[in-house]
Amino acid sequence: MGVEHLSLAIQSLLCLVLLAVLFLELWPALRLDTFRQGMFTVRDELFDYAASGAIPFDDPAYRLLRQLMNGLIRYGHQITFFRLWCTFMRLRLSRSGLDDRWSAKWEVALGRIRDLKVRDDLCGFHSRASELVAARIVYGSPALLLLLIVLFTTIIVRRGLQNLKHALTDAVAAGASLAVDQRLLEDKAAKLAA
């Protein structure tokens, strides 16, 4: 092996090491920070919403939503398709059934709110949190990314090129719901944050 070949081999090895650091360390850390940053933004807006007097801070719906967001922020590093899929399979194999206590409590708490606008607003905060989770799951898995491309293309073909952003959001939500049951994730996050 000549000096040139050795030099090229070292260069290639160095590039591979740098790529490994980039894809295995820096990129996941950035994704996690971005997810948490987005969730903090929604949580802060929810706080400001309650501070404006629209809903009391001790309202069960507010507390449940905040509890959910706290859990998602705290355990954001564990929200991956692989982990969720393993949990889902474990539940199926043990036949213990889906634990959706948080979802049930959330429905009851929402039902107690008489003002329809406040109810819609809270559902909006919940949807935004769910979208962030869906994006984290889908963009973190190559298999789901592929599915996302297929879904996105299908939605675009069906609706035409009217609103690309909505089509992408819908595709992410559809991809995540195909992969995992949202109630499972919400209950786990709320339970861990309690």
């Binding site: 040139e4 001790d58 706290n70």
Partner: protein, 75 residues
């Protein structure tokens, strides 16, 4: 032919050096910016918590570290 090979190698070397330098600088800048973000979070967390607790005495927390990182026991 030998001259051509040397020129080609020199060209590859310079492109490689340029790429590595650019990538290295980008990563270094990213890491520095990330450290600055963490410092800012650390500086502001207590103040935000203090102000929010005045409005909501039962305020709950995500229990991240003041820098916004995962706690050791949660890893």
């Amino acid at each position: 032919m030998a001259s051509f090979s040397v020129e080609l190698l020199a060209s590859v070397q310079s492109v490689f050096t340029l790429s590595i330098t650019t990538s290295g600088m980008s990563v270094a800048l990213y890491l520095r910016e990330r450290r600055n973000h963490r410092k800012t979070r650390d500086r502001l967390t207590d103040r935000i918590t203090e102000l929010e607790v005045k409005l909501d005495p039962h305020r709950t927390s995500s229990l991240l570290t003041p820098e916004g990182l995962t706690r050791k026991e949660d890893e």
